[in-house]
C-alpha cells in the first residue's frame, strides 16, 4: 500500500497535477510529522502510519497559499470526509484539492469505532468492513442503562475536563473565530472543569450534522473523555431518519438545514439509537 501511494504521489508531482503532496514523513531523527512533499525524491521518506488527520492543516495551507496552488492530500476515510465537509463549508476550493485515498486496517477501524474505514475515492489498500459502534463493548457499557445511570457516567467523566480546548482545536470542522465556547454568554469563563452542559454539549451539537466521526476530539483529550460517544446517537439518527451522512459528497446538504419534511415524527419515546443497545438491556 505504501509503495502504491508513493507511486501515485510521484506521478502527481511529476505530472505537476498538484504543487505539493501532503502526507506524513519520517525525518532524520526518526520522528514522524506531517510534511509537504514538493520534490518526488523526498517521497522516499513518506509513511502512512500512524493515523494523523491532515484535513485542518491542509485547509490552512491552502488558505495561506496563492489562488492556483493545488494540494494533493494523502487521506484516510475520515480525513477525506472532513475535507469534503470543509469544501461544503466553503473553506477549501474544490479545484485546489486532490486526494490520495488510503484504506485503514481492521484493527484501526476497531480502535476508532469507525463504520467507514475507507475513503469514497480509494487509491491504495483494500477496503475492510466497518464496525458498528453500537455493537462495541466499550460503547455499550457506557451508554446502556437508564437516564440516571447514563447521566451519572457522563457527569463523572466530564468532571475530569481541564478545559484545554483540545477537542475543539483538533476537530477538523471546528473552524470558527471567535468560537461560542469562548463567549461568556454561553460558557462561563475562567471556570474549570468547564461547565459541563454548555461547554461539551454546545460543541457536540454544533457538530451534530457535520461530525465525520474521525475521533480527533477524543484522541486529543488529555483526560480520555470518550467524546466521540456524544456524536454517535445523532449520527445514527441522521442516517436512519434522513439517510444522511456527513462528508460523503460535497453536494448533499444536511437535512437539518432544510424545511423539507421527509418523515414527520414527533412522537418519540426512546431515542432511535437506543434500540441497538436493547438486547443486552433485557437479558
Amino acid at each position: 500500500m505504501l509503495e502504491k501511494t508513493k507511486n501515485i504521489a510521484r506521478q502527481i508531482l511529476e505530472e505537476k497535477k498538484a504543487s505539493a503532496v501532503f502526507g506524513l514523513m519520517r525525518n532524520e531523527w526518526n520522528i514522524i510529522q506531517p510534511h509537504l512533499f514538493e520534490d518526488p525524491a523526498g517521497l522516499a521518506n513518506l509513511v502512512l502510519e500512524p493515523k494523523w488527520l491532515l484535513a485542518k492543516l491542509a485547509m490552512r495551507i491552502l488558505r495561506s497559499s496563492p489562488e492556483n496552488y493545488k494540494l494533493a492530500v494523502i487521506c484516510r476515510g475520515c480525513d477525506e470526509r472532513a475535507l469534503i465537509e470543509l469544501i461544503k463549508r466553503n473553506q477549501i476550493e474544490k479545484e485546489n484539492l486532490l486526494t490520495i485515498g488510503i484504506a485503514c486496517s481492521q484493527e484501526q477501524a476497531a480502535i476508532c469505532l469507525c463504520d467507514r474505514p475507507y475513503p469514497e475515492k480509494l487509491d491504495a489498500g483494500e477496503k475492510v468492513s466497518g464496525v458498528d459502534p453500537f455493537q462495541d463493548e466499550r460503547v455499550r457499557k457506557f451508554l446502556i442503562g437508564n437516564d440516571k445511570e447514563r447521566m451519572k457516567r457522563w457527569a463523572d467523566m466530564l468532571k475530569r475536563c481541564i478545559k484545554c480546548y483540545g477537542c475543539r482545536n483538533s476537530c477538523p470542522i471546528c473552524i470558527c473565530e471567535p468560537c461560542k465556547l469562548e463567549d461568556d454568554v454561553w460558557v462561563q469563563r475562567g471556570v474549570v472543569p468547564a461547565e459541563t452542559i454548555t461547554f461539551h454539549l454546545i460543541r457536540a451539537f454544533h457538530l451534530s450534522d457535520t461530525c465525520v466521526a474521525c475521533g480527533a476530539c477524543q484522541e486529543a483529550c488529555p483526560v480520555n473523555i470518550p467524546l466521540l460517544y456524544l456524536q454517535l446517537g445523532m449520527r445514527k439518527t441522521l442516517r436512519e431518519k434522513y439517510g444522511y451522512e456527513a462528508g460523503l459528497d460535497p453536494e448533499t446538504k444536511s437535512p437539518v438545514l432544510s424545511s423539507a419534511f421527509e418523515k414527520p415524527d414527533t412522537d418519540r419515546e426512546f431515542p432511535d439509537w437506543i434500540n441497538s443497545l436493547r438486547e443486552e438491556d433485557e437479558s
Binding site: R89, N90, Q91, E177, P178, K180, D183, V185, S254, V256
Partner: protein
Amino acid sequence: MANISVFLCKCFGEIDNTINFDFLREELSKDPSVVLISIVDSLCLETDIEKTVSQIRESNSDKVLIAACSTLSRGNLVIESLIKEGVERHKIGLVDIREGCAWIHGDNPEDASKKAKDLINMGIAALQHKDMSDDMSVTVHPNALIIGAGPAGLAAAMSLARTGFKVNLLERSKVPGGMLKLISRCYPDNDDASNKLGPYLREVENNPLITFYPQSKITSVEGDTGNFTVHFSFQEKDSFIQAGVIIVATGAKIFFPTGLYGYGEIKNVINQMEFERQSLNGSLETKKPVFIQCVGARNRERPYCSTICCPISLKNASRIAEDIPGASVFILHRGIMTPGNTLEKYYRDTLSSGVQFIRFEEEQPPRIIGSDYVEAVEVYDAITGITRKIETDLVVLSTPLVPNNDNVQLAEMLDIEVDRYGFFSEIYPMHPLETKTDGIFICGSARWPVSSDHSILQGKAAAMKAVSYLRQSKIAASTLSRVPGLKSGHARVVPESCTGCGNCVAACPFDACHIEKLEGRYISIVNMMKCKACGSCVSVCPNGTMQIPEHNYRMVGEMIKMAF
C-alpha cells in the same frame, strides 16, 4: 451599561392588587443600572404617558423599560405612544406582568411578585443588549408587469391602469383572452364568454397606460421588491422591463386524457374543451350526450379537485337538455362539487332541466361500449347498486386543469414557490395572493383552478395589493412586513467572524442571504429586502455571527441567566 428607567404600571389595581409594588421597588433599587423607578396608575392614560415622557427627559436614563400588560393587549400602543414622543424604538423594552403574571397567579401574590421581579430583571438584561437593525430602501418603479393576459391578468391590468399606473402586459400567444377565447359561455350566469372578455379587450386596446406584449416569454428576472428587471423575448427579440411589482396570471392548461375512455382513439369521445369549440363554431351535434366527471382527477396521481369541471358539465348538460327537444343527458359523477350559493342553485336548476345524474365510485369507473364509435356507456350506479347501460352519441370527459409546464422554471426565476402539483403557491394561507417575494402576486388559475369570475376577482384583488406598493415612491426594507406594524428587524452578519460556512444560506426560507467572496474569503450577505427576520439563519450559525439585533443572542443568554 446603559442607564435604565423603569416604569411600573398598576393598571388601576389590575396588577398591583396581586403584585407587591413596594417589593419590586425595593428589589429594583438594588440594580445600579436602574436610575429611575416610577409607578404609574395606567399607561393607557394620555396624562400618564405625558408624565412618563417628561420623567424620561429629566432623568439621565438611556433606555426605558415598561412593565405593564402584554404586547398583544395595549403594550404595543404604549410603545407606539412613546415613540411618537421621540423615544427610539430599540431603547424601549416591554415586560408583561399582567397577562403573563398577575392574572395567572392571582391566587399566589407572593410567587407572583417574585416572578414579576424576575421578569423585570429579564427585561432589563435584554434591554441592555438590544440593538437596532440596519435598514435600506429602494426607489419604486411606478409600473407593473403582468404575466399572462387571461381573465385574471386582464382584470389586474384594467384595475391598475384605471388607478393610474402604467402596466406592461406580457402574453405568450398572439392575442389576449386566455382560455376564455376558447369557450362559448361561462357559468354560472351563462353569459357569452366574448361578452365577458369584451370590456377588458377594449381597455387593453384603448387605455394608453397599458402596453401589450404578445408572443413574449420571460427569460430572466433580477432585482427585488419595487425594483424588478425582467428580461423577456418579445416576438423573438430580447427586451426588458423595469417594474415595481409583478403579477403572475399565467393560468393553467387543459389536461388531455389520452388513453382514458378511448380518448384520442374514438371519434365521439371528446373533452370539455372540444365540446366548447364545437359549440362555438356551431358544429356540435348531439342528442344523447354522457358527461363523465373527474377524468384524471381525484386519483392517486392528481388527488386534487379542479373545482371547475362540475359546474362546466352542469352548464353544458343543461344547455343541451334545454335547447334540444327530446334530448337525453347524463352526468356520471363521483359527487358533484358545487360549493357556494350560486353554484348550488346552478346544480338544482340543472336537475330540474331534466339532466340525469348517476354516481359511480373510483374503483368502478364507467365502461365504454364500442370500438370506433361509442354506442353506449355502462356504469355501476353506486347508490342503487344497479349496473346501467346508457345509449349515447357523444361522451364528454371532464378533465381537470393542470399546471403549465414551465411553472417551476418561472417560479425559480421569480423566487416564488410552487405547490406539490406545480401550481404557484402562496406563502401563507393568511396572506392570499402574496408570495415568498414581496411585490410578486399570483392570481387566477396559475394559483389554483378557478372559474373566470374568480379569476377576474383575484386579478382585481392582486392589483389592489400591488397598488399598496406602487403608490410609494420609496420602499424601506423595514416596512416589508405582511402583518401590521414593523418587522422585528433584519438579520445582520458580522463580516469579521463569518466563516462562510453557508449554514444560514441553506436554512433561510426566503433565500435572503447568499455567500460572496470578498477579499479572498467567503462571507454571508443578507438582502434586507428579502429578509423577514424569522431567525432561521441565526439558530444555525455556529458561532453567533448572524444575529437579529433586536433579538440577539446576548439578550437571550442574559435573559436566561436572570430567569429565576
